[in-house]
């Protein structure tokens, strides 16, 4: 389906936007902004998919990423010691490892892109991508998607079990430490290491009511 020069311009614009937004994810100094630059990059990729004729997939990508980036922002703020995402911080660390990994990945993907023989079958204008997708989902790829669906369901049930108010050792609002057989040892001193937000195991510390 060739759509003329406007589609080509749009492709380059969205492609550039996706790359720049992806770069900005790591240049920005705030976790919330990083999450939403990533969202912008995904939206650009989604629009490219729409240009390629896979409109359903592109729109579903945008739909899912909106929710997921918000949840990611909330989780980042929750787990990082950066109050509400307002404190400026640097988003990168382990510079050398990251640079090496990035260069290797780029080389690999670029090599694949240059060497591989991509199919070049223009899709007929009358094709219905959504119907084809549906037939694929319920036909040849049913096992894959059903397995993924059941795995997701198991994950959701596990998450609900984790978040439920009543646990094995009592109500969540009255403290979550397991009862000790021996008298509780004195609570060990907190170490202010980067991402550790759990108390030391076995400490008889009770959360406030």
């Amino acid at each position: 389906m060739s759509q003329g020069p406007l589609a080509d311009v749009a492709f380059w614009v969205f492609g550039l936007a996706a790359v720049v937004a992806g770069w900005l994810v790591f240049r920005t100094d705030s976790m919330v902004r990083a999450a939403y630059w990533l969202f912008a990059s995904f939206v650009a990729v989604g629009f490219i998919m729409v240009l390629l004729g896979a409109r359903f997939l592109g729109l579903v990508l945008v739909l899912m990423m909106a929710g997921e980036m918000t949840i990611m922002a909330v989780f980042m703020v929750m787990f990082m010691m950066n109050p509400a995402g307002l404190n400026p911080m640097t988003m990168v660390h382990q510079h050398r490892t990251a640079i090496v990994a990035g260069v290797v990945a780029f080389a690999g993907l670029a090599g694949v892109g240059l060497v591989a023989d991509f199919p070049d079958r223009p899709v007929a204008a009358s094709a219905e991508p959504t119907a084809e997708l549906g037939r694929e989902l319920l036909g040849d790829s049913m096992l894959v998607f059903e397995t993924a669906g059941v795995t997701l369901l198991a994950t959701m049930i596990g998450a609900i079990a984790l978040a439920a108010k009543r646990g094995r050792f009592g109500d969540a609002t009255t403290g979550s430490a397991a009862p000790e057989l021996d008298p509780a040892p004195p609570p060990e001193a907190e170490e202010g290491t980067g991402h550790d937000h759990h108390h030391g195991a076995g400490g008889g510390k009770e959360a406030g009511s």
Partner: protein, 309 residues
């Protein structure tokens, strides 16, 4: 004239959103005046949105220190853009549509999902505690109504065997979806009110947060935010009119008039709900959404699917 060409499309969508936001303001004023026991003056109500907009345009725009200026300024634009995308997918009459794409329902779902991003950024970017609180509250609300919204829209697409909103309206030639899927429209309206944070679900801009995400907004930015909320609610009403109330089907009047009337009816319903229902307790509503509304939406999908098979 093809409504898909850029200029007519912009004109149509712009006119619909402006008219909808204005109509919402008027309806809200009328219902509010009647509820409050004030004398109801129709002409005054017609001029209210214009007068208020003029006042807001003349007020200065104050800022807080070190805001995320781009996000704060763009948040209303995100809402309006997404409302425009949703309105664009709805046909007004047979063949009169800006973009009656094959995946209209998915387009609407994606547009409504990105609204969550806009409201959250509006709260976070102000760099102030009360708007921040409002933004995070809205995320909790949004994640709760998202599932029922998606499910009832999918259920409405099942009888039509197509995701295009035009096909869904065509499939309602005999009976409207509100009749054969009774759970659909109430769930959709609850989710839609939550999406536009309107009335009983006005959680991010609540009075108990001193105005919430709109607490630090003044002048033209305040007008933009109120207009954006009106635009989103208009989009909810227009999509609801097409998907559940039969779109352009109706005797005597031309199809576009029927679509507009049905959308206005939904707007009036939502405007009335604001003055009748108290604001929800967020925790209670989240529990309700996950334990009652999602199962009801699933029942809706199963029943529609069973009927369609």
């Amino acid at each position: 004239m093809s409504w898909s060409a850029p200029l007519p499309a912009l004109a149509l969508v712009g006119a619909v959103l402006t008219a909808g936001a204005g109509a919402l303001a008027m309806l809200d004023h009328l219902v509010g005046a009647r509820t409050a026991g004030r004398p109801v003056r129709l002409l005054a109500a017609l001029g209210q949105p214009v007068a208020r907009s003029a006042l807001l345009l003349l007020t200065r725009r104050a800022t807080t220190p070190r805001t995320d200026a781009a996000a704060w300024a763009l948040a209303p634009a995100v809402l309006v853009g997404m409302a425009a995308a949703a309105v664009a997918a709805v046909p007004w009459d047979r063949g009169v549509a800006v973009a009656d794409v094959d995946d209209g329902i998915v387009l609407v779902g994606a547009a409504f999902a990105v609204v969550m991003v806009g409201v959250y950024l509006h709260g976070w970017a102000a760099n102030s505690p009360l708007p921040l609180h409002g933004g995070y509250r809205f995320v909790a609300l949004a994640l709760s109504y998202e599932m029922p919204l998606a499910l009832v829209l999918i259920a409405a697409a099942l009888p039509a065997e197509s995701l295009s909103i035009g096909a869904i309206v065509e499939s309602q030639a005999g009976t409207w979806n509100v009749v054969r899927q009774p759970l659909g429209l109430p769930l959709y309206l609850v989710a839609g009110a939550g999406l536009a944070f309107w009335g009983p679900l006005n959680v991010p801009d609540a009075g108990d947060l001193g105005g919430g995400t709109a607490a630090e907004v003044s002048g033209p930015a305040r007008l933009a935010w109120a207009g954006a909320q009106g635009a989103v609610l208009t989009a909810v009403a227009v999509v609801g009119a097409g998907v559940f109330l039969g779109g352009w089907h109706g005797p005597l009047l031309p199809g576009a008039a029927w679509t507009a009337l049905k959308a206005l009816a939904l707007l009036a319903l939502l405007a009335g709900a604001r003055h009748r229902l108290a604001r929800v307790r967020l925790e209670r509503f989240v529990v309700l959404a996950w334990t009652v509304l999602i199962p009801l939406a699933l029942v809706d999908v199963f029943v529609s699917g069973a009927l369609a098979l």
